[in-house]
């Protein structure tokens, strides 16, 4: 996780990226969820996402470093759902590819894809943080 941070931040900040890492319409839908008092729970949901994902990415790295591809496949599947629920489509797509690579036993591709997922998460995080300061 840590070793990727430098590069990832560069990518996240790069202005030439065409597609935003997060689908804003999904975030708008999440913003429509309210608590008992009718207040939006969006910030609570985004915080939960930003807090939970790094630990899971670390676990993913550990699994791929140890060559435990069945664990990689399971974790990648779970992360697909998490990322998609928060509009991180690119991250969800990469997780899906990672799962497929792990399922067919391709450790090399799995390593590369875990790196790509980490990088993409940094982009997602920057976008969400920027979104948070915007609203």
């Amino acid at each position: 996780m840590r070793e990727h941070r430098g590069t990832a931040t560069d990518i996240g900040a790069s202005p030439e990226t065409e597609r935003p890492p997060v689908d804003e319409t999904v975030i708008e839908q999440l913003a429509s969820i309210t608590d008992g008092q009718g207040l939006s729970v969006l910030s609570e949901l985004l915080n939960a996402f930003l807090l939970a994902v790094p630990a899971r990415l670390e676990a993913l790295q550990t699994a791929v470093a140890g060559g435990d591809l069945s664990s990689v496949a399971h974790q990648a599947h779970s992360l697909t759902g998490s990322a998609a629920s928060f509009g991180a489509r690119g991250m969800a797509d990469l997780c899906r590819l990672l799962r497929a690579a792990a399922d067919r036993g391709d450790l090399g591709a799995s390593r590369v894809l875990v790196g790509a997922v980490l990088d993409e998460f940094v982009r997602v995080r920057s976008w969400l943080v920027a979104f948070g300061s915007r609203t």
Partner: protein, 318 residues
């Protein structure tokens, strides 16, 4: 509604649970299918929203478990599948799933689907209530259809059913029983002198005396107009003793009998007793013949059909 939200992914579960709560429902989050099943078994649950692919029990297996329960309460089952997973959606619906949602679930879609779920579960609840009501009515009707409205005793239908049961127990377990057929003496003269309502009243009072004299296993029925049949699970000697006890109790009740010919002024019974041997028709005819004999011997007495033994204790007391 109580809504169980099942997903192994904590973030997906969190979003769904918050969305459910925000729509005014109670969300019950579960991490696995097994956990969800426990929730369903422990409390009333209206809706389950379940991920398809989970370690351990899958969403489809969870649905099958819930559908397999012996419960009147309907659980509306929503399966969440991936976008390109129409095959799983089809298999799910075929296996008892009510609705399929595509990941990631849009809160607005969830709101619409839960409105449908509420309507369907409400319909199921009302159907179950009506069903319970009908079952109660059926039980009541079955009892009413087997009771004589005037005396409250069993009617002929009930008598025929019970006699079959008595007979099958006799044949299988050699449990003897006997019948006593009672008839109110000179009943027609009571009706003629005091009217049919007085006749009905007298019949009711006789039935009450008979009922008081019975033991738990004994049964009494209104056999015909003023005829009552008592069935007792005992040998003919004890049946005869009980029948004569009933006859005397009615006499001692001193129910007025206006218009009665002869010296008597109260309601009395004649009774024919028979051991329940052979077919139902056979022993009922034997009791009837004994009753006829009791009538012709002067009424207010008992005759035991085919009596091949003496009943000295009865002879001495009457």
């Amino acid at each position: 509604m109580n809504v169980v939200v099942v997903d192994d992914d904590p973030l997906v579960r969190l979003v769904l649970a918050k969305a459910v709560t925000g729509l005014g429902h109670v969300s019950l989050p579960a991490e696995t299918g097994e956990e969800a099943l426990q929730l369903v078994e422990r409390q009333p649950v209206d809706v389950v929203i379940s991920d398809w692919m989970m370690p351990g029990m899958t969403g489809l297996e969870l649905c099958q478990h819930i559908r397999g329960r012996d419960s009147m309460e309907y659980v509306y089952f929503m399966l969440v599948t991936a976008l390109d997973d129409s095959e799983h959606a089809l298999a799910g619906i075929a296996a008892g799933v009510d609705d399929c949602l595509v990941k990631p679930v849009r809160p607005f879609d969830l709101r619409l689907r839960l409105m449908v779920a509420e309507r369907v579960t409400d319909l199921h609840r009302r159907l179950a209530e009506r069903q319970r009501g009908l079952e109660r009515t059926n039980v009541d009707l079955a009892a009413t259809a087997r009771q004589d409205p005037l005396t409250g005793l069993g009617n002929r239908l009930r008598m025929n059913e019970d006699l079959e049961i008595f007979k099958s127990r006799r044949d299988r377990y050699h449990e003897p029983f006997g019948v006593a057929l009672f008839d109110i003496d000179h009943f027609k003269s009571l009706n003629d002198a005091a009217g049919h309502q007085a006749g009905d009243k007298a019949l009711q009072r006789v039935a009450n005396v008979v009922r008081r004299q019975l033991r738990l296993a004994d049964q009494a029925y209104r056999y015909g107009g003023e005829e009552l049949l008592v069935v007792l699970p005992a040998g003919v000697r004890r049946v005869a003793a009980a029948a004569d006890r009933i006859r005397k109790a009615v006499e001692q009740e001193a129910i007025p009998h206006p218009g009665r010919p002869g010296p008597e002024t109260v309601v009395t019974l004649s009774v024919g007793v028979a051991a329940a041997e052979g077919d139902i028709e056979t022993f009922l005819m034997a009791a009837d013949a004994a009753l006829y004999q009791a009538k012709s011997q002067g009424r207010n007495r008992m005759v035991v059909a085919g009596r091949w033994f003496a009943l000295p204790e009865l002879a001495a007391s009457s």
